[in-house]
């Protein structure tokens, strides 16, 4: 029996006889196994690089989030302090207005109430500015955390992909080995049988 089959690299192999066929299949399988191994290694390498980059992106995003949170903390503290000033001034203005409207020391208390209103207003406006800044930094922190989450999820997917690829390579390698064992076992069994047939023929002859 003569046949021609193509290897994975498209090289024709001329086959002749049972052992020839099987040996060519064995060689073909070895070639296929080596190609798979090479492809798998390239894939794992690429996936590991992507995973490392995703981890690095996540780490940088977490740093940005922490920095933004620190800024947010500062502006929140400032907002609280200014808010307290505005609140106290507002309370003073309200109390002075109430006492003055009762008729006591109006000449002093009414101007005091107006001045306190000015102070409360300035404090409130400044607290508003600080609140705006704190919220912008809070938004930056949330955005950075979203980026960190994106990096973490991407890294997780890449890690799964690496595990999966390594599993596939292991399975493929085992399948190749098993097929090669089958081919070699078949050759061996065929050879033994041939020898026995030949011996039997000689004995009969």
């Amino acid at each position: 029996m003569t046949a021609t089959i193509q290897t994975a690299t498209q090289l024709p192999i001329a086959l002749s006889g049972f052992d020839g066929d099987m040996s060519a299949l064995d060689a073909l399988e070895t070639n296929h196994q080596q190609n798979d191994l090479k492809t798998g290694e390239t894939l794992v390498h690429g996936e590991e690089n992507a995973e490392q980059k995703a981890c690095e992106d996540a780490r940088q995003a977490i740093e940005r989030a922490e920095e933004a949170k620190a800024h947010q903390g500062f502006w929140s503290d400032l907002e609280n302090a200014l808010g307290d000033v505005a609140e106290v001034a507002g309370a003073v203005a309200a109390a002075a207005t109430a006492v003055a409207s009762a008729g006591a020391a109006a000449a002093v208390l009414v101007p005091l109430a107006e001045a306190a209103s000015v102070t409360a207003g300035v404090g409130e406006a400044a607290a508003g500015g600080a609140h705006g800044a704190a919220k912008q930094y809070e938004a930056s922190a949330v955005r950075a955390m979203a980026d960190a989450q994106e990096g973490t999820l991407r890294a997780g997917r890449m890690e799964t992909a690496v595990t999966s690829t390594v599993d596939d390579m292991r399975d493929a390698d085992e399948a190749h080995r098993q097929l090669q064992q089958t081919i070699q076992g078949t050759i061996q069994t065929h050879d033994q049988t041939s020898v026995q047939i030949a011996a039997s023929t000689r004995i009969r002859g």
Partner: protein, 202 residues
């Protein structure tokens, strides 16, 4: 990304050769291997689809978080505008009141300054209230963004589990391929033993 399409199954040319060999054992083994390989391919494609779904849901989760950041920004600007507006009107009312007291410090003048100041204060509260109303809408949108992110995370987790199940199915299919090859090895060995025994008997 995976290599199931390039690895994990024996060379198809080897299978073609076994299928065309005319040997029933070889053909049966090759068919088992082909079936296992096809099952593995299907499981692999389904797994890839679930992995793509997981990646898409992950991205939507991240998008929802980015949207929340935008809503927080808007909420911050609206709150700030309300507070600044109220503060400016309060301060203006006080300043106007003081100016009025400077020109008329009589009882009536003080009452009038107080009234003007109160009007500015009320206008400030109104402005703050309107801004707070809009800001509250943004806070509701933030809660919605959180819910969307949670939903996408749940979907991504489900897709991940399904992908893992498909990975198990791939392994089962690979085992089927192995069983086919084991069968062929045993078949060849048994066949040879039968032939040897027949020779001995002859």
């Amino acid at each position: 990304m995976n290599i199931t399409n390039v690895t994990g199954s024996p060379n198809p040319q080897v299978l073609d050769h076994l299928l065309a060999s005319g040997d029933p054992g070889a053909e049966m083994a090759a068919m088992a291997v082909e079936t296992g390989t096809a099952e593995r391919k299907t499981a692999s494609e389904t797994r890839r689809a679930y992995e793509a779904e997981e990646a898409s849901e992950d991205q939507q989760q991240v998008d929802a978080m980015h949207q929340k950041a935008k809503d927080i920004e808007s909420e911050g600007w609206l709150d700030a505008a309300g507070m600044i507006g109220q503060g400016v009107l309060d301060a203006t009312g006080g300043a106007v009141g003081l100016a009025m007291l400077g020109s008329d410090s009589s009882q009536a003048g003080m009452a009038e300054a107080n009234d003007v100041s109160s009007i500015f204060h009320a206008a400030g509260l109104g402005a703050h209230g309107i801004a707070t109303g809009f800001a509250t809408e943004k806070r509701a949108a933030e809660a919605n963004d959180d819910a969307n992110a949670a939903l996408c995370k749940a979907n991504a987790d489900r897709a991940k589990e399904a992908a893992e199940d498909m990975h198990d199915a791939e392994k089962d299919a690979a085992d089927y391929v192995k069983a086919g090859l084991d069968f062929y090895r045993d078949y060849v060995s048994t066949d040879a033993q039968t032939q040897a025994a027949a020779l001995h008997r002859a």
